[in-house]
Symmetry: C2
DNA sequence: TAGACTAGTTTGCTTTACAAACTAGTCATT
DNA sequence: AATGACTAGTTTGTAAAGCAAACTAGTCTA
Protein backbone atom coordinates (compact mmCIF):
# COMPACT_ATOMS: atom_id res chain seq x y z
CA UNK A 1 0.00 0.00 0.00
CA UNK A 2 1.25 3.44 -0.98
CA UNK A 3 2.22 6.02 1.57
CA UNK A 4 -0.39 8.15 3.24
CA UNK A 5 -1.22 11.59 2.00
CA UNK A 6 -0.45 14.25 4.56
CA UNK A 7 -3.35 16.24 5.85
CA UNK A 8 -1.53 19.28 4.54
CA UNK A 9 -1.98 18.32 0.90
CA UNK A 10 -5.41 16.82 1.50
CA UNK A 11 -6.79 19.99 3.02
CA UNK A 12 -7.89 21.92 0.02
CA UNK A 13 -9.61 19.05 -1.66
CA UNK A 14 -11.34 17.42 1.28
CA UNK A 15 -14.67 19.06 0.61
CA UNK A 16 -14.52 18.11 -3.05
CA UNK A 17 -13.74 14.51 -2.23
CA UNK A 18 -16.64 14.31 0.22
CA UNK A 19 -19.01 15.73 -2.38
CA UNK A 20 -17.90 13.14 -4.93
CA UNK A 21 -18.47 10.29 -2.50
CA UNK A 22 -21.85 11.61 -1.42
CA UNK A 23 -22.80 12.03 -5.06
CA UNK A 24 -22.55 8.27 -5.42
CA UNK A 25 -24.49 7.48 -2.29
CA UNK A 26 -25.49 8.95 1.05
CA UNK A 27 -23.06 8.31 3.86
CA UNK A 28 -22.50 9.18 7.50
CA UNK A 29 -19.34 10.72 8.93
CA UNK A 30 -17.76 7.60 10.27
CA UNK A 31 -18.51 5.62 7.12
CA UNK A 32 -17.23 8.44 4.97
CA UNK A 33 -13.95 8.30 6.82
CA UNK A 34 -13.63 4.56 6.13
CA UNK A 35 -14.63 5.06 2.51
CA UNK A 36 -11.84 7.59 2.06
CA UNK A 37 -9.33 5.17 3.52
CA UNK A 38 -10.33 2.73 0.82
CA UNK A 39 -9.42 5.33 -1.79
CA UNK A 40 -5.99 5.82 -0.25
CA UNK A 41 -6.99 9.08 1.38
CA UNK A 42 -5.50 8.61 4.80
CA UNK A 43 -7.65 8.77 7.89
CA UNK A 44 -9.04 12.24 8.28
CA UNK A 45 -9.33 12.99 12.01
CA UNK A 46 -12.85 13.26 13.40
CA UNK A 47 -12.06 16.70 14.78
CA UNK A 48 -11.78 17.75 11.15
CA UNK A 49 -14.43 15.71 9.40
CA UNK A 50 -17.42 16.30 11.64
CA UNK A 51 -17.07 20.07 11.87
CA UNK A 52 -16.50 20.16 8.10
CA UNK A 53 -19.71 18.22 7.46
CA UNK A 54 -21.59 20.67 9.68
CA UNK A 55 -20.08 23.59 7.77
CA UNK A 56 -20.96 22.02 4.44
CA UNK A 57 -24.53 21.60 5.57
CA UNK A 58 -24.66 25.27 6.56
CA UNK A 59 -23.38 26.17 3.09
CA UNK A 60 -26.24 24.13 1.63
CA UNK A 61 -24.11 21.51 -0.14
CA UNK A 62 -25.46 18.59 1.88
CA UNK A 63 -28.32 17.76 4.23
CA UNK A 64 -28.12 15.41 7.18
CA UNK A 65 -30.71 12.96 8.50
CA UNK A 66 -30.35 10.91 11.65
CA UNK A 67 -31.03 7.22 11.35
CA UNK A 68 -30.88 4.54 14.02
CA UNK A 69 -28.46 1.69 13.48
CA UNK A 70 -29.00 -1.86 14.72
CA UNK A 71 -25.34 -2.23 15.49
CA UNK A 72 -24.28 0.98 17.25
CA UNK A 73 -25.33 4.53 18.01
CA UNK A 74 -27.55 6.49 15.64
CA UNK A 75 -25.87 7.69 12.47
CA UNK A 76 -26.20 10.98 10.69
CA UNK A 77 -26.49 10.34 6.96
CA UNK A 78 -25.63 13.14 4.59
CA UNK A 79 -27.22 13.64 1.18
CA UNK A 80 -25.83 15.85 -1.55
CA UNK A 81 -28.05 18.74 -2.66
CA UNK A 82 -28.42 20.35 -6.10
CA UNK A 83 -26.11 23.15 -4.95
CA UNK A 84 -23.69 20.51 -3.74
CA UNK A 85 -23.68 18.87 -7.16
CA UNK A 86 -22.82 22.17 -8.79
CA UNK A 87 -20.02 22.67 -6.28
CA UNK A 88 -18.80 19.14 -6.99
CA UNK A 89 -18.60 19.89 -10.73
CA UNK A 90 -16.79 23.12 -10.02
CA UNK A 91 -14.30 21.18 -7.94
CA UNK A 92 -13.68 18.64 -10.70
CA UNK A 93 -12.88 21.44 -13.14
CA UNK A 94 -10.55 23.14 -10.71
CA UNK A 95 -8.87 19.86 -9.95
CA UNK A 96 -8.20 19.16 -13.60
CA UNK A 97 -6.70 22.61 -14.03
CA UNK A 98 -4.52 22.18 -10.97
CA UNK A 99 -3.35 18.82 -12.23
CA UNK A 100 -2.26 20.34 -15.50
CA UNK A 101 -0.29 23.10 -13.80
CA UNK A 102 1.48 20.93 -11.27
CA UNK A 103 2.27 18.16 -13.72
CA UNK A 104 3.80 20.67 -16.13
CA UNK A 105 6.10 21.80 -13.33
CA UNK A 106 7.04 18.23 -12.46
CA UNK A 107 7.73 17.31 -16.08
CA UNK A 108 9.94 20.36 -16.56
CA UNK A 109 12.10 19.51 -13.62
CA UNK A 110 12.60 15.90 -14.66
CA UNK A 111 14.03 16.64 -18.12
CA UNK A 112 16.24 19.57 -17.21
CA UNK B 1 -7.20 30.68 -20.63
CA UNK B 2 -8.67 28.25 -18.14
CA UNK B 3 -10.37 29.35 -14.97
CA UNK B 4 -8.34 30.24 -11.90
CA UNK B 5 -7.67 27.78 -9.16
CA UNK B 6 -9.20 28.85 -5.89
CA UNK B 7 -6.83 29.54 -3.05
CA UNK B 8 -8.71 26.84 -1.19
CA UNK B 9 -7.49 24.06 -3.45
CA UNK B 10 -4.10 25.66 -3.92
CA UNK B 11 -3.37 25.85 -0.22
CA UNK B 12 -1.98 22.45 0.52
CA UNK B 13 0.33 22.38 -2.45
CA UNK B 14 1.64 25.93 -2.38
CA UNK B 15 4.83 25.04 -0.55
CA UNK B 16 5.49 22.12 -2.90
CA UNK B 17 4.99 24.31 -5.95
CA UNK B 18 7.38 26.94 -4.62
CA UNK B 19 10.01 24.29 -3.93
CA UNK B 20 9.72 22.98 -7.49
CA UNK B 21 10.15 26.44 -8.98
CA UNK B 22 13.10 27.26 -6.72
CA UNK B 23 14.67 23.94 -7.63
CA UNK B 24 14.92 25.17 -11.18
CA UNK B 25 16.32 28.56 -10.29
CA UNK B 26 16.50 31.06 -7.43
CA UNK B 27 13.67 33.56 -7.34
CA UNK B 28 12.36 36.40 -5.20
CA UNK B 29 8.83 36.63 -3.82
CA UNK B 30 7.37 38.96 -6.39
CA UNK B 31 8.93 37.07 -9.29
CA UNK B 32 7.75 33.78 -7.84
CA UNK B 33 4.23 35.10 -7.83
CA UNK B 34 4.49 36.02 -11.51
CA UNK B 35 6.09 32.68 -12.35
CA UNK B 36 3.14 30.89 -10.76
CA UNK B 37 0.70 32.90 -12.81
CA UNK B 38 2.48 31.65 -15.90
CA UNK B 39 1.77 28.08 -14.79
CA UNK B 40 -1.91 28.83 -14.36
CA UNK B 41 -1.64 29.04 -10.59
CA UNK B 42 -3.68 32.13 -9.93
CA UNK B 43 -2.22 35.08 -8.14
CA UNK B 44 -1.31 34.16 -4.62
CA UNK B 45 -1.80 37.23 -2.39
CA UNK B 46 1.37 38.77 -0.95
CA UNK B 47 -0.07 38.45 2.55
CA UNK B 48 0.22 34.71 1.96
CA UNK B 49 3.36 34.33 -0.10
CA UNK B 50 5.81 36.47 1.88
CA UNK B 51 4.99 35.03 5.30
CA UNK B 52 5.09 31.53 3.77
CA UNK B 53 8.57 32.15 2.38
CA UNK B 54 9.70 33.32 5.80
CA UNK B 55 8.23 30.19 7.38
CA UNK B 56 9.90 27.97 4.79
CA UNK B 57 13.22 29.61 5.55
CA UNK B 58 12.72 28.92 9.26
CA UNK B 59 12.02 25.27 8.44
CA UNK B 60 15.31 25.18 6.55
CA UNK B 61 13.88 24.46 3.08
CA UNK B 62 15.17 27.69 1.54
CA UNK B 63 17.61 30.49 2.28
CA UNK B 64 17.15 34.12 1.30
CA UNK B 65 19.70 36.67 0.13
CA UNK B 66 19.01 40.33 -0.52
CA UNK B 67 20.14 41.71 -3.84
CA UNK B 68 19.80 45.22 -5.20
CA UNK B 69 17.88 45.68 -8.44
CA UNK B 70 18.57 48.40 -10.99
CA UNK B 71 14.89 48.79 -11.72
CA UNK B 72 13.18 48.88 -8.33
CA UNK B 73 13.64 48.15 -4.64
CA UNK B 74 16.03 45.43 -3.42
CA UNK B 75 14.84 41.88 -3.94
CA UNK B 76 15.16 38.92 -1.63
CA UNK B 77 16.20 35.90 -3.64
CA UNK B 78 15.48 32.47 -2.24
CA UNK B 79 17.61 29.38 -2.86
CA UNK B 80 16.49 25.82 -2.23
CA UNK B 81 18.52 23.86 0.33
CA UNK B 82 19.33 20.13 0.47
CA UNK B 83 16.52 19.68 3.00
CA UNK B 84 14.26 21.60 0.66
CA UNK B 85 15.08 19.23 -2.18
CA UNK B 86 14.15 16.26 -0.01
CA UNK B 87 10.91 17.95 0.90
CA UNK B 88 10.26 18.67 -2.76
CA UNK B 89 10.67 14.98 -3.63
CA UNK B 90 8.37 14.01 -0.79
CA UNK B 91 5.80 16.41 -2.17
CA UNK B 92 6.02 14.92 -5.66
CA UNK B 93 5.38 11.44 -4.29
CA UNK B 94 2.45 12.62 -2.23
CA UNK B 95 1.04 14.48 -5.17
CA UNK B 96 1.17 11.43 -7.41
CA UNK B 97 -0.63 9.39 -4.77
CA UNK B 98 -3.28 12.05 -4.34
CA UNK B 99 -3.77 12.21 -8.08
CA UNK B 100 -4.42 8.49 -8.25
CA UNK B 101 -6.97 8.60 -5.47
CA UNK B 102 -8.92 11.59 -6.72
CA UNK B 103 -8.90 10.48 -10.35
CA UNK B 104 -10.24 7.07 -9.34
CA UNK B 105 -13.14 8.81 -7.64
CA UNK B 106 -13.79 11.00 -10.67
CA UNK B 107 -13.68 8.06 -13.07
CA UNK B 108 -16.11 6.07 -10.95
CA UNK B 109 -18.67 8.82 -10.93
CA UNK B 110 -18.52 9.34 -14.67
CA UNK B 111 -19.38 5.75 -15.67
CA UNK B 112 -22.04 5.02 -13.04
C1' DT C 1 -18.32 -5.81 33.63
C1' DA C 2 -14.60 -4.56 31.16
C1' DG C 3 -12.72 -3.67 26.74
C1' DA C 4 -13.22 -2.96 21.69
C1' DC C 5 -15.56 -0.94 18.17
C1' DT C 6 -18.90 2.30 16.44
C1' DA C 7 -20.78 7.21 16.17
C1' DG C 8 -21.14 11.97 17.10
C1' DT C 9 -20.48 16.64 19.63
C1' DT C 10 -17.97 20.18 21.84
C1' DT C 11 -14.00 22.64 23.63
C1' DG C 12 -9.75 24.94 23.31
C1' DC C 13 -5.37 25.65 21.37
C1' DT C 14 -2.46 26.38 17.44
C1' DT C 15 -1.60 27.40 12.89
C1' DT C 16 -2.84 29.59 8.41
C1' DA C 17 -4.64 32.73 5.29
C1' DC C 18 -4.68 37.18 3.92
C1' DA C 19 -6.57 41.97 3.46
C1' DA C 20 -4.79 46.21 4.46
C1' DA C 21 -1.63 49.55 5.77
C1' DC C 22 2.94 51.01 5.40
C1' DT C 23 7.74 51.82 3.55
C1' DA C 24 10.55 52.39 -0.37
C1' DG C 25 12.71 52.08 -4.94
C1' DT C 26 12.27 53.13 -10.38
C1' DC C 27 10.19 55.19 -14.44
C1' DA C 28 7.08 57.80 -17.42
C1' DT C 29 3.86 61.62 -17.60
C1' DT C 30 2.14 66.04 -16.51
C1' DA D 1 8.81 68.54 -8.90
C1' DA D 2 4.67 66.25 -8.35
C1' DT D 3 1.57 62.41 -9.60
C1' DG D 4 0.64 57.88 -10.70
C1' DA D 5 1.97 53.16 -12.11
C1' DC D 6 4.70 49.39 -11.29
C1' DT D 7 7.94 46.88 -8.49
C1' DA D 8 9.25 44.78 -3.84
C1' DG D 9 8.94 43.65 0.89
C1' DT D 10 7.32 43.85 6.00
C1' DT D 11 4.07 43.99 9.60
C1' DT D 12 -0.32 43.89 11.85
C1' DG D 13 -4.82 42.30 13.07
C1' DT D 14 -8.56 39.45 12.32
C1' DA D 15 -10.86 35.50 10.76
C1' DA D 16 -11.01 30.84 9.63
C1' DA D 17 -9.24 25.91 9.77
C1' DG D 18 -7.36 22.02 11.60
C1' DC D 19 -7.53 18.84 15.06
C1' DA D 20 -6.23 16.55 19.54
C1' DA D 21 -8.69 15.44 23.39
C1' DA D 22 -12.43 14.92 26.34
C1' DC D 23 -17.03 13.54 26.64
C1' DT D 24 -21.47 10.97 25.71
C1' DA D 25 -23.54 6.90 24.15
C1' DG D 26 -24.84 2.66 21.63
C1' DT D 27 -23.54 -2.59 20.43
C1' DC D 28 -20.99 -6.78 20.91
C1' DT D 29 -17.70 -10.12 22.69
C1' DA D 30 -14.83 -12.13 26.19
Amino acid sequence: MAQDISSQVLKGILQGVILMILNKKAEYGYGLSQEMNRYGLSSVPKGTIYPLLTAMEKRGFITGKRKASTLGPTRKYYYITATGKQEKDRFIQEWSQLQKSVNTLIKEESHD
